[in-house]
């Protein structure tokens, strides 16, 4: 099993460690609920170094990005960031990712840990235009510093004006004395904050500097458990749960990052699918009766007829409600429509709600 540059730090902090995508990762430290609240109300730090980073360089790098991703990367100016996905040729999703436009003609793609190998092979196979490719996943540390107080905690460690950074932009500079740190105003929690990419050798220095700077603001390390409850409250898709090789990006609500203004892998079929409409749709729901929805639970209508499947579910720590997402027949996929989640052979009354579940003030 692989370690990140900070695995020993998590273990020393007493984190509960779990194998995830081949890495030994912290799932929680003080407890999922406490870490979740720290991120919503103050600031939390996630080690997400298991994620993959690929660098694409050369005159035709944009051409390769445009071919394999669904969003329109030609709109990106230097240091701008975009959410996107790799469509496959059969209507599904290879992975969801972030596309960074770096300086010059370079791009960085940030992918899910569980898909690094698959994505890299896909990139290589489709690189018919001779783009220079580097997989820097193993030597890159990625920290997500998330929460409303992230900017004030981090500001003392860099000259870059963090409060001025717009969402989905990035800058490269000196951070806590380390050079070439990519500071990105992104994250997958809906709580605001930054993601920091840097070489492994700076990992401990940067981790310790952030915690020293955050002491007065109750900074907390946060694990994969809180990351999951935070993203689910926002209705963000998790690869492997809500989207995968067989799910339609259009049914998953990713039409907004599917740009038919350009051609890309499977774009013609996706356009046809868009015109015809999908049979099922990913929706958010909350339980009215007691219970907690979990992945793969069946969704039925009032007559007990199967209309869909749960893809993610949890007890929302912010709302104190049982929430979930799942694919259901479009006829039922309307806000306030009554559906039932089958939990241990019992039909539990639920209703379709608007996403996100959690709205920050």
């Amino acid at each position: 099993m692989k370690s990140t540059a900070l695995t020993h730090v998590h273990e020393a902090l007493g984190a509960k460690m779990v194998p995830f995508a081949g890495y030994n990762m912290p799932v929680s430290y003080a407890g999922i609920k406490e870490e979740h609240q720290a991120v919503r109300n103050s600031v939390g730090v996630f080690d997400v170094s298991h994620m993959g980073e690929f660098i694409l360089k050369g005159e035709r790098a944009l051409e390769l990005v445009q071919k394999i991703t669904s969003n329109d990367a030609s709109r990106l100016t230097e240091w701008k960031v975009q959410y996107s996905y790799f469509p496959n040729e059969t209507g599904g999703i290879i992975d969801d990712l972030l596309v960074y436009k770096l300086d010059g003609d370079a791009y960085m793609l940030v992918v899910n840990a569980s898909n690094i190998e698959k994505d890299w092979e896909w990139l290589v196979v489709n690189n018919t235009m001779g783009v220079e490719l580097h997989n820097i996943s193993d030597k890159t540390t990625l920290l997500a510093v998330q929460g409303p107080k992230a900017a004030e905690v981090l500001q003392g460690l860099t000259a870059i004006d963090l409060a001025e950074m717009k969402y989905y932009t990035s800058e490269k500079g000196v951070f806590a004395g380390a050079e070439n740190v990519l500071i990105s105003a992104t994250g997958y929690t809906g709580a605001g904050g930054f993601e920091l990419y840097f070489e492994n050798e700076h990992a401990e220095l940067i981790w310790n500097s952030i915690f020293e700077a955050g002491k007065a603001r109750d900074i907390q390390p946060a694990g994969l458990g809180a990351r999951d409850t935070l993203r689910l409250e926002m209705g963000f898709c998790l690869y492997g749960n809500d989207i995968d090789d067989s799910t339609s990006p259009l049914a998953a609500g990713l039409g907004w990052i599917t740009k038919f203004s350009k051609e890309f892998i499977n774009s013609a079929n996706l356009l046809k699918e868009k015109e015809n409409g999908t049979q099922r749709k990913l929706v958010g729901f909350e339980l009215i009766e007691r219970g907690i929805p979990r992945q793969d639970y069946m969704i039925v209508d009032g007559n007990g007829k199967e209309i869909g499947t749960v893809t993610s579910g949890t007890m929302s720590p912010s709302l104190n409600k049982a929430i979930g997402m799942g694919y259901i027949d479009v006829s039922s996929a309307v806000v306030d429509s009554e559906i039932f989640i089958v939990i241990r052979d019992k039909k539990v009354l639920s209703k379709v709600v608007k996403l996100p579940f959690y709205k920050s003030n």
């Binding site: 407890g31 999922i32 458990g225 907690i292 949890t314």
Partner: protein, 126 residues
């Protein structure tokens, strides 16, 4: 690891406090730690008489759900109403306020199959 000597334990990480033919059942300190924040305990078997190893309910943590098994056969008399509104007491006080059900034991000789604290400790690698 908190393992009171006056309780009996199961390999499913439950504890049993015996008072004559009545028993209180909960999950161990080890189990609550492994599950993490407990958000809901479901027991819908009050009034039912179940055999040992039958499922009498389930514990939902943020990330996982885990079945609860009868340590010995018996009738489920009562569920702890306190954990309805405060399921987190299963985390904070697993042997006290966090007890889950009260049962009437069908055959007390089945208690012989349960583990004393030392044996359970060995079971969880303590």
């Amino acid at each position: 690891m908190n393992l009171p000597d006056d309780l009996l334990y199961t390999k499913d990480h439950e504890w049993v406090r015996v008072e004559g033919d009545i028993a209180f059942i909960g999950i161990t300190d080890f189990a609550q730690g492994e599950l993490g924040d407990i958000v809901y305990v479901e027991v819908e078997t009050v009034g039912d008489t179940l055999d040992a190893e039958e499922v009498f309910g389930s514990v939902e943590a943020v990330k996982t759900v885990s079945d609860l098994f009868m340590p010995v056969g018996g009738e489920v008399l009562e569920v702890n109403e306190g954990i309805e509104s405060a399921p987190e007491s299963v985390n904070s006080d697993p042997y006290g306020d966090g007890w889950i059900v009260k049962i009437r034991i069908t055959d007390v000789s089945e208690l012989d199959g349960l583990l004393p604290a030392e044996a359970y400790k060995a079971e969880i690698g303590g």
